[in-house]
Subunit: 130 residues, 2 copies
């Protein structure tokens, strides 16, 4: 009743070695063990690993993810400066969204002007982004 590391790995599409690595970093709870030392994970660890994957895709470092998870876990030490951290992160995220919006517009525009990858006429990428 619980998952072994291989099952957790295949359910999350995350390498076994990476899971052990995350354990070393303290990103996932220390699993219980069978009598012979095999790791046994709770089903919710699947969500946890998926959450880590998602944040990674969004550009967070494992260190930042650790802080965010400190909040999830109500970990006194990890989320000591969580207020500043979140305020900061919100600012960063808003900025990132704006910049990504600009970049997206630029790319859409580029794609229009270059309909079948044939000719590239004008591309004021730098000007439009600076």
């Amino acid at each position: 009743m619980g998952l072994r590391i291989g099952q957790l790995a295949s359910r999350t599409y995350v390498n076994k070695e990476t899971i052990r690595y995350y354990e070393r970093l303290g990103l996932i709870p220390i699993p219980s063990r069978t009598a012979k030392g095999y790791r046994i994970y709770k089903a919710q660890t699947v969500d946890r690993v998926n959450f880590i994957k998602k944040l990674k895709r969004l550009g967070f470092t494992l260190n930042e993810i650790d802080k965010l998870l400190g909040v999830v876990d109500r970990n006194e030490v990890k989320c000591r400066d969580i207020y500043d951290f979140t305020v900061n992160k919100i600012g960063e995220i808003q900025h990132k969204i704006e910049e990504l919006n600009k970049l997206e517009k630029m790319l859409v525009d580029l794609k229009k002007r270059c309909p079948e990858n044939k000719e590239i006429y004008e591309c004021p990428i730098i000007e439009s982004l600076m």
Copy 2:
């Protein structure tokens, strides 16, 4: 008339070694040289380096930045598959924006419930994001 590497570095807040590294990767144009071999950069290289910094902050790898710059430079080789690349990037960016919006809402919500970094009551981060 032109910048030396130290000036380019201090104007962009990018390490001199990093600038030479970008040159090796082909991200910035090969600068001219003085008689004694000192690199001389055009003023616009400042913009170029800043553009690279900006894309990096947005989560692009140097490899992706190289492709994007291939478009800027109308480089036939570098932007051969630029159409697919941009279509793909647009999708990724849209997805990223959505996810960042969700994360931002979550953080704003968290901040409200934890007004002065004193108590953290509830924090369904995982649930709200999955």
